[in-house]
Each structure stands twice: as structure tokens, then as C-alpha cells.
Amino acid sequence: MRKTFRNRGFLPGFGITMGYSIVYLSLLVLIPLSVLFLKASTMSWQQFADTILDGRVLASIRVSILSSFFAAIVNAVFGVLVAWVLARYQFVGKRIIDGIVDLPFALPTAVGGIALTSIYAENGWVGQYLAEWGIKVAYTPIGIWVALTFIGLPFVVRTVQPVLQDWDLQMEEAAATLGATRWSTFIRVILPHLMPAVITGFALAFARALGEYGSVVFISGNMPLKTEIVPLLIMTKLEQFDYAGATAIATVMLVISFVMLLVINYLQWRINKFDAAR
């Protein structure tokens, strides 16, 4: 092992950086997460199963996963659009729009949630017009989806944008000289190349949305079985000083997120292989 390390090392300091990385990751990620598992393991399997299979918990898992999924899908489509506009066109105020994309990152999510609620409530700027059509956004699952779309947007834009910026225009020119329409150039040349970045952005937005609490509690209305998200149930367990119950739910969500990221990594690996084979 040591030999391979030394042979491959162009840059000095592998030992330092590796040691640092491990300590850093351990302190910030691995140890806190393993404490989570330890805490959950104070329960018996029966207690664990009872906590997880409770109707309300299952309903909230469903709400969380579905709304996160749809939010990530919408972000994948419209994030690409935004990234495309930012990468391809010059226009007045481009830098400002570029900056706006990052706002959901920078803003405390509670602020975003309160702002969205005041806009989409029935007496809000947008909400009052939607109400005329009989569409309720705030305090319904649609509201949750809006909040999760909001916090997930930068993930797709920021992963796709650099790929588009580095994109070699000659490929499109070649496609055009071979008689491809603009649409088929996009579908058959550009999109496959973008896919890994889009999928990464999708996965990040999805995983982020699963854990989102701050913005959703304000807009969801928190009705049991209907608009309760998983993080809220974790909070209710903590409010009863039921640390084990809270960590049990958290553990399940952690496992779901992890499996999902693994699957997506696998998909990406397949796509890359496919791309390289062509």
C-alpha cells in the first residue's frame, strides 16, 4: 500500500493531508453520526420498530420523500434552464441574477419560509390570485413543495453551470454541419453530457430537502398525517425528551438518504461509463 501511495504522489504531503482529512471528517461527520446510531441502539428492536412503523411517522416519511422528490425534479428541469441562460447569454443584470441563485444558500431558511408563507398565504401577493382559482398553497402539501423547491434550486444550477461554461461549442457546430436540428443537438449531444451534473444536482437537492426543517414549518401548517414532515416529528419527540425515539427516526432518514446517494452515484458511474464507451 505504502508503495503505491509514494509512486502516485506528485505532490508532497500525502500523510499530512490524509491525516487531516480523517480527523476533520471524524470530528465533524463520522463521530456525530455514529453517536446517532449509538443513541438509537439503546432501544430494543421492538421499540425501534414501534417508533418507526407508527402511522404518523410513516405518513410523514411519505410526505417528506414525495415532496422532496418532486421539488428536486422541478429543480432539475428549471435549474438547467437557469444555468443555460447564465452560461450562454450576455444580458444586463446577469451578475445580479447569478447572485440571486445563491440566496437560498445564504438566507436562514426560516426567513425564506416566512417570506414564502406571507406571499402564498390566502391574503398574500400571489396567494390571493391562486385562491380565486381554488388553489391553496400555504398550509398544504403544495406549500411544502414550494419551500423545498426554493431551498434546492442552487444545487442544480451550481453543478450544471460550470459544465455548460466549459462546453466546447465545436461539438454543436459539428452536429449542425452534419445536419442535426437544434433540438436534436440539444437532446442527443448536449444533454447526455450534462446528465451527470444534473443527476448530482438532483441528488443534492433531494437530500437537502429531506432534512429541511426551518422553512417548511412555517408554510406547511403541520397538520398530523397531512402536512407533517419528518424533521418536525423528530422535534416533537425531542419536546417529550424522547431522545431515543428522535434518533430512531433520524437514523431511518439517514439510511434512506445514504442509500439514495449510493444509488445515484451508481447511476452516474453507469452514465459516465456509457459516455466514455461511445
Binding site: 463521530i31 398565504a121 412555517f218 422535534m235 425528551f241
Partner: protein, 353 residues
């Protein structure tokens, strides 16, 4: 310069292992480092941390100023009091997890009981100060829109079809538990102690709730700013705050015929005052809340003072409402929590599919 790079590598590898081991070791034992703290009695400057819940921020800002002045005069010592605010349950967890509060002033006894359960406070803490360790009280009232368009006068009006009621979620908000128990207590009294009838009443009340905010302030915002609901069930002090800050021309307060005596308790956290050597000043701080001055400040912030004279001076701001206590009707907080708000408790059954 470095003749043997492998030696450095080994060093860092070892360093990494030591660091990880130290990190893991550090997790398993409580942090006991830190210099010997100077006894506060002799120091000229002393600091207290008051861990409280959300709506008391302005009240304690006033209290702290007055108390610091009084303490300086009495002892020559300068006391600065830091405040921490948040949901009552969350604040209690922070103290359990190591936030070194000298005093806690929370929304319900249950949250302090949880701290006592971890041994930071003796179990009989609530007997240490007079009046159940609650220097000021409040009650649950209704806030309605100006002119009271739905003619809401009492609890019975809240279960009428077509009336939309706003209250926070008792599962996440300590304050909301008082609201819920107030409704339950009313139904119990009205139906001669019939628990089944009370459950029916509260169930139909929550059928009229379109939004369950996670905290009391959130509910106030939903009602006041978003214009949702016909009535807000709120603490009396929150209701007054909403009316006075947000518009006397928009809202009015309705007092139900019967409500609950909300007793937000205070206590010294023995473990930390002993560690900080701040017991004297912390106890004096809580005693100050019972003094005439402290009671006046409580009244100013719409908490009902315990002091009869101060209370009298502020009537009719505090109209007389028939009040019951949680001990009378529910057998104390621990039992009420277990029966009503624990998982699979009565509140959960209300929302069973």
C-alpha cells in the same frame, strides 16, 4: 531540508491516530477543564445566565436592569445577566445538554422536571419558592377580530361548525399545552368530570384548527399577519401584546367564563450556581421577581402578578376569570403530559386516521 520523508509521514500518521483517539475519548467524558472560577462573593463583577422561553424577552430585559441597579446598591457588586430565549422544551434540553444556566424561567413545570430528572436540580424544586415557584401567572384567553364577527364568547363557540380556530401544536409548543388543557378543563367542568365528553369536545375543537404552528409566536403571526382563522387561543400576555403592538382597531380580547391558571415556573439550577459560585446572587434575582418592583414589571408586561395589591392596582387590565389549576384537574404536569401529549396519548388519538 527533510532528509527522511517517511519519518514525517509516520509522525503525521501517528498524530492522526492520536487526534482521533483524543476526539473519541473526549466524547465519552464530560469536559472538566477550565480554570478555578473565582468565588462570586468576592469578585466585583458577576455574571448570570437566565435561560427562558420566547415571549419573556422584553420582560426580563426590564427585570435585569432594575435588579442590577438594586444589587449594586446593596452589595457594590456589578451583575450582568445574560438572557437566552427559545421554545421552552428546547431551552430545557439545552440546559440538560450542558448550557450552564444559573436560573431557568420556563413555560411549564414539566420542562424543569426534565432537568431535575437529570440531577441538576433537586426533585422537590417547585417547593423552594413560594406560590409553586411561579412569581407571575397568566391565563388562556381568546383573540378575535374587531367587532367579533363570529360572536365568540366562550369555549362552546369554538366547536361550532364554520369557526376557524388558531392554536399552536401541543406536541411542539409548551405554551400550546396550556391552551389544550384549558379547553379540556372547561369541558370537564361543564360535563361534571366526564372524561369521554371532554375528549369529544377537544376533538371537535381541533377539527376546527386549519393550521398547527410549531410555536405560540408562529400562531400569533398566522392569525394576525396572514389573516387566517376567526379566533386565536393565546396566553393573556401574548393577546395583550398583539392588541397593543399590532392594532387596537383590528383585534379584541374575549375572556372565557372559565380558564386555566398558567404558572410559568422559575428556579435556580443548583449544579451550575454551585459551580459558578453564584448562588447568592441567583437566589436574590429570583426573589426580586416576587418583590413589589418585580411584580410591577410583570404586570407591565401583562403577566398577572401574584401580589394582591399590585394585581388590584392593575385591574381592570386583568379582569377576573374563574381559573382552575393543573394540579386540581390533571394531577400535575407529569401526569398531564403522560396522559395527553405523550406518543399514543389523547392528543395523538384525536388525529388518528
Amino acid at each position: 531540508m527533510w532528509k527522511t520523508p517517511s519519518a514525517i509521514q509516520t509522525f503525521w500518521k501517528r498524530f492522526g491516530i492520536v487526534a482521533i483517539a483524543a476526539a473519541i475519548g473526549g466524547c465519552s467524558q464530560a469536559t472538566t477543564t477550565g480554570g478555578e472560577s473565582k468565588p462570586a462573593e468576592t469578585a466585583s463583577v458577576v455574571e448570570l445566565l437566565n435561560v427562558s422561553y420566547d415571549p419573556t424577552r422584553e420582560f426580563y430585559q426590564d427585570v435585569n436592569k432594575e435588579f442590577a441597579a438594586e444589587w449594586k446598591e446593596k452589595t457594590g457588586q456589578t451583575v450582568t445577566i445574560k438572557q437566552s430565549h427559545g421554545g421552552s422544551g428546547k431551552q430545557s434540553r439545552s440546559v440538560i445538554d450542558g448550557l450552564e444556566a444559573d436560573v431557568v424561567t420556563l413555560a411549564l413545570a414539566y420542562d424543569i422536571d426534565a432537568i431535575a430528572e437529570r440531577g441538576l436540580i433537586p426533585p422537590e424544586w417547585q417547593k423552594k419558592l413560594t406560590e409553586n415557584s411561579s412569581p407571575y401567572t397568566s391565563t388562556i384567553v381568546f383573540l378575535v377580530r374587531k367587532g367579533n364577527p363570529k360572536q365568540i364568547k366562550d369555549w362552546d363557540d369554538l366547536i361550532k361548525p364554520g369557526v376557524s380556530v388558531i392554536t399552536p401544536n401541543p406536541k411542539t409548543s409548551g405554551g400550546a399545552r396550556w391552551n389544550y388543557l384549558a379547553a379540556w378543563g372547561y369541558a370537564l367542568e361543564k360535563n361534571n368530570g366526564d372524561q369521554a365528553k371532554a375528549k369529544e369536545f377537544v376533538t371537535s375543537l381541533f377539527k376546527n384548527v386549519p393550521v398547527l404552528d410549531s410555536g405560540a409566536r408562529g400562531s400569533t403571526t398566522t392569525f394576525v399577519e396572514r389573516g387566517i382563522g376567526d379566533v386565536l387561543i393565546a396566553w393573556e400576555n401574548e393577546a395583550y401584546l398583539a392588541v397593543n403592538e399590532l392594532g387596537k382597531d383590528k383585534f379584541e380580547i374575549v375572556n372565557p367564563s372559565l380558564s386555566i391558571l398558567a404558572e410559568p415556573p422559575v428556579t435556580v439550577v443548583d449544579k451550575y450556581v454551585d459551580k459558578h459560585k453564584t448562588r447568592d446572587v441567583a437566589e436574590a434575582y429570583l426573589q426580586f421577581l416576587y418583590s413589589k418592583k418585580g411584580q410591577e414589571l410583570a404586570a407591565k408586561h401583562y403577566y398577572r402578578p401574584r401580589d394582591k395589591e399590585v394585581l388590584k392596582a392593575h385591574t381592570p387590565a386583568f379582569p377576573e376569570i374563574k381559573l382552575f389549576t393543573i394540579d386540581e384537574l390533571f394531577g400535575g404536569w407529569t401526569k398531564a403530559q403522560k396522559d395527553h401529549f405523550a406518543d399514543q396519548g389523547i392528543f395523538d388519538q384525536i388525529y388518528k386516521p
